[in-house]
Amino acid sequence: MSDISSPSRRAGMWAHASNDIPRVVLVLTIVGVALGPLGLNEYWRFVASMMLIYTLVTLGFNILLGYLGQLAFANVAFFGVGAYAATIAMNGGLNFIPGILVGWIGGGIAGFLVGIPALRIRNYQLAIVTLATGELLRWLYIHGGSITQGSSGLEVPAMKLAGYQITTEIGKYWVFLVFTVLCLTVTRNLLRSSVGRAIVAVRESESVSLGLGMHAAGFRILAFVWSGALVGVAGGMYACLLGRITPESFGLTQLLVHFSMVMVGGLGSFVGSIFGALLLTAIPETLRNFPGLEEIVFSLLLIIVLRFVPEGIGGFLGGRISGLRDRFFGGKS
């Protein structure tokens, strides 16, 4: 599994991808993603927005789990911090864009704070600390008095953007789409740049990366900050989409959903993260009507993926996409 996102393999998957895929396909995809939800009913438009949110969540989590290879389970904490920070800012009268920026910064700060102990502690101990952080934050939301309104949660004001109030599902979807595409592009470029390769190098061998003169601690912190910031943006969008956030939304079940999406998508896979999020968000909400069913389905999925397709969709497709591309778009890779 470790070779999936090793620099050479990813270079094979990514380096020429944008050159090789004809522009027509790219344009059609963009048009399809932007206009497709017009043909859906309100419920599925809501699900489409949720897919965008979970795409960012999964990618952010994957930066830590897959690219940096650290057992950092604080993703739900970043998600919650982003959601609460953005909501509090918007309740204070901010528009959507500055509000989401507050979520972004809040998530980034949370990532930074979790990243500092991660310089000293690794593996299981890090997993335990980050798990504890998530639960500690949930306790804070419950006992936060007038700031977080306890277990009943916070009401999120209507999205205000450039003088307009966005209340329709499709309007929210388009706004979220712009932000998601922006975040995905920046993240993809970051991961493809020397920074991304350095993060993978730190995962593969910290001593080698230190020996090559890399600032391993800096890249480690950077991965945490960027992961937190991405998930923080997703948290802000989540708050706006739902209209109310409660401490319950940021508990252990949420963590399971994030885990499953990353593992189904594939550790350290960019496309995989997107596919994992899309696929698992589409699992019908009806599961939630039966207590426990959501946990059963997601955990079985997680077990099956870990046991039989440990490289996830990303790794599974990765080998095949380059093969297909060779066949259809002339064989350089």
């Binding site: 102990p117 870990l306 046991r307």
Partner: protein, 289 residues
């Protein structure tokens, strides 16, 4: 009042100690940190409930049946889920135990998620007064049972040949395999043993806390705190850590604020790992370069 708090702290602490001990034993012998151990504990409690209250077996039989079920469950998990991916990255193995945890919790919630189940006390005798301290028979049973398990484990590892073999197999698996120890079989046995311990702990605690699907998740964090506090992977440290956390939780809850009881363990984890990463009994570990 102080004495009473100490007594109830020790009762709580001995539960944490046993769960932390089970996880430490598994970690020491197989190198796996079992994020699903809390759920195994919960499953043990539910199994006793099902055997004694739903099926109607006598308590002793129900208890033995629950332990047997959990031992088999633990062994099956190792054989079917962990062993095939044991040579993969640590992240995958950790995730697998997380998935086990959610699966068991989900099943419990699916069947019994709506109500909090009551388990009648194991022995029905009036509470005992020692000076100003009140202890129920159940409390004494918990302390006694937990301490018996702890002592049994220490004797097993320190005195018996099998215990020594197990330590050898965990320290140098390849070397142990070379001298003819069945290492995979030993791993499977350890998964069974610790699952059995979880069932015993679940049985002891069930009448006090009542049964609900999330009872394992809460306990897991406390056990992690105990392990962290005592030095990760240290058997004595896990037990001591459990007792100290149980005590400190009660005292902090009474003298500072009751809201602290819920998060005391989290605070301990975070502070200890940042200030004293090797715990109170752990040895300093040199990073191999």
């Amino acid at each position: 009042m102080f004495a009473q708090l100490v007594a109830s702290g020790l009762v709580q602490g001995s539960i944490y100690a046993v769960i932390a001990l089970g996880m430490t034993v598994l970690f020491r012998s197989t190198g796996v940190v079992h994020f699903g151990y809390g759920a195994f504990f919960m499953a043990g409690a539910f199994a006793v409930y099902v055997f004694s209250q739903v099926i109607g077996l006598a308590f002793v039989l129900a208890f033995l049946a629950a332990v047997a079920v959990l031992v088999l469950l633990g062994m099956a998990c190792e054989r079917m889920l962990v062993r095939p991916i044991a040579h993969g990255p640590h992240v995958a193995v950790a995730m697998m135990t997380v998935a086990m945890s959610y699966l068991l919790t989900g099943v419990a919630r699916f069947f019994w998620g709506q109500e909090v189940l009551r388990m009648p006390p194991i022995i029905d005798v009036p509470p005992i007064f020692i000076g100003s301290i009140v202890l129920t028979a159940q409390d004494l049973l918990i302390i006694g049972g937990c301490m018996a398990l702890v002592v049994a484990f220490f004797l097993f590892f320190a005195r018996t040949k099998l215990g020594k073999l197990m330590q050898a197999a965990s320290q140098v698996p390849r070397g142990a395999a070379l001298v003819g120890i069945n290492v995979p079989g030993f791993h499977m046995a350890m998964w069974g043993v610790v699952a059995g311990i979880a069932a015993v702990a679940g049985t002891l605690v069930a009448p006090v806390t009542m049964l609900y699907p999330d009872m394992g998740a809460h306990l897991l964090i406390k056990a992690f705190a105990a392990m962290t506090f005592g030095g990760f992977g240290n058997l004595g440290g896990a037990v001591l850590g459990g007792l100290i956390i149980g005590l400190a939780e009660q005292l902090a809850g009474f003298y500072i604020s009751t809201a602290l009881i819920d998060i005391f363990a989290y605070l301990v984890i975070i502070v200890v790992l940042i200030v004293l990463p090797n715990g109170i009994l752990g040895k300093k570990e040199a990073t191999r370069v």
